[in-house]
Amino acid sequence: MKKIEAIIRTSKFEEIYKCVAGLGVKFLTFYDVKGMGMEHAKSQTYRGVAYEPAYIPRTKLEIVTVEELVEPVVNCILTVGKTGEVGDGKIFIYEVLEAHRIRNTERGEEAL
């Protein structure tokens, strides 16, 4: 089992979700994170003082899935999540030792 973590543009979430769902990924977790990177946030002005919010709001996606699905899921994100402009984000893959479904005591791959 592998965990796929992707930091994506918040605006791309919908599309990416559709794509991976198409691959049969029924579960995923996501949340708002703040990113520091190449891209810089749109500057704001308040009472004459211009300032640049330190970070960019992004969405982090977490999908734990089986070997076979890693490749296709990553491709979904790479193709759908891409605009070609700085700020598209990254994908990271990790090893997962074990998984449990809380509802019943299924474990391992069928818990996914």
Binding site: Y46, R47, G48, A50, Y51
Partner: protein
């Protein structure tokens, strides 16, 4: 004069009183909206307690200090007693054709607290609660009525050959608050992180809708503030004052809109809100002396000035979170001067008198505030500790949050 007319006049004065009252909610909302969420309970607490202080101190001593009676006409200071003593025929037009004694008191009392409210905005997000309340009591209870006596109490500014003119208080009320705000903001120093090595940083107000509500309520109340200053329901004068007040506010909005857009290339609502107030403060001194065109000019210039003023005070590192100094001090001075430049009273002599008034009030209020703030600074201290300021005054001075159910940044 007859009982009917007396009753009408008194009725309008009472309605005006209620309108001035609601201005305190306007100030509370505006100041809370233009500061940070972590200091909201604190700013609201101050603005809630201030009107209470104003009403009580004014009843205890303020009213007497401000209207010591003819014995002191042309003077600087007078006091003939404490508390309120009902004069003969207090509830008849023998007392005054426009209002009863109690109406007189309560209308004036509602004004009193304004001075301190203005200060609270400028010193927000870093002043200790205790010292601020202490200052407010002295400023509202003593400084404001003394200055008010100079003009409205028949004092020396009223007895100049060409009397100083300040219809509803551009100087007597707004500048008084503005000077206290200037001194307080200066002696406190800027909020942490406002002026850093790499230059000025913005500290955005946390709730623009609240700020907007505040300004509308202030404009709403201003019709009572200026309209009530006619001291009767005289149809001609009050309706004229309504028109000049409305037009000046509107013109102030445009003055600030255009100026801030030209300067910053953005539509900054906080500047437009300040512009409306500056227009209103500007017309306050001559609301009954201007025509609609002059009101528009005064308001427009007021709205323009406030934008430059905000930038200016930032440049000289005087940190005023809500722009109180720019609106009330700069706007108040402008409006007072304008009486000598436009309208029925325009004239060289009048300009001199206006400058005299501006100067006298400025010197007195500046010193008064300085002495109080400075001595407190040297003794109990007036500024919260760095850690408290960073965490926010709400959690430290009130051990409470304004929005506990919301995920707030920082």
């Amino acid at each position: 004069m007859n009982q009917e007319m007396f009753t009408i006049n008194n009725l309008w004065m009472m309605v005006a009183t209620i309108l001035v009252f609601i201005m305190h909610l306007g100030f509370a909302s505006l100041e809370a909206g233009l500061t940070r969420a972590k200091n909201t309970v604190n700013i609201l607490f101050k603005n809630t307690i201030i009107p209470a202080i104003g009403l009580l101190t004014y009843g205890f001593i303020g009213f007497n200090l401000m209207y010591p009676g003819d014995a002191f006409s042309g003077g600087f200071l007078g006091l003939t007693g404490l508390g309120l003593t009902l004069p003969e025929g207090w509830d008849t037009f023998a007392y005054n054709e426009g209002y009863t004694f109690y109406t007189d008191f309560i209308f004036q009392a509602m004004f009193a607290a304004t001075a301190a409210t203005i200060v609270s905005g400028a010193v927000a997000e870093r002043i200790k609660l205790g010292p601020f309340i202490f200052f407010s009591i002295l400023y509202v209870g003593i400084c404001y009525p003394i200055v008010g006596m100079w003009k409205w109490g028949g004092g020396f500014l009223d007895t100049l050959d060409v009397p100083f003119y300040d219809f509803a208080g551009s100087t007597i009320v707004h500048s008084v608050g503005g000077w206290g705000a200037l001194v307080g903001a200066y002696l406190l120093g800027p909020r942490l992180g406002k002026y850093t090595a790499k230059g000025m940083s913005a500290i955005p107000g946390h709730n623009i809708p609240m700020a907007t509500i505040g300004v509308f309520l202030l404009w709403f109340g201003w019709f009572g503030f200026n309209g009530g200053s006619v001291l009767s329901a005289d149809p001609g004068t009050v309706s004229l004052v309504f028109v000049t007040t409305a037009i000046a506010g509107a013109a102030g909005a445009f003055g600030a809109l255009i100026t801030s857009y030209l300067k910053f290339k953005t539509y900054d609502i906080t500047m437009v809100l300040n512009g409306i107030l500056a227009g209103l403060v500007g017309i306050t001194a001559g609301a009954d002396q201007m025509g609609i065109g002059e009101a528009a000019i005064i308001g427009f210039i007021g709205g323009t000035l406030v934008v430059f003023a905000v930038v200016f005070f930032d440049r000289i590192k005087i940190d005023d979170p809500v722009g109180a100094i720019s609106v009330h001090l700069v706007g108040g001075i402008w409006g007072t001067l304008a009486v000598g430049l436009f309208g029925n009273l325009a004239g060289y002599q009048q300009v001199i008198s206006q400058l005299t008034g501006i100067g006298a009030v400025g010197v007195f209020c500046f010193l008064f505030s300085w002495i109080i703030f400075f001595s407190m600074k040297r003794t109990m201290g007036i500024r919260v500790e760095e850690k408290e300021e960073l965490e926010g005054l709400d959690i430290n001075e009130h051990s409470m949050r304004a929005y506990p159910d919301f995920a707030t940044k920082e």
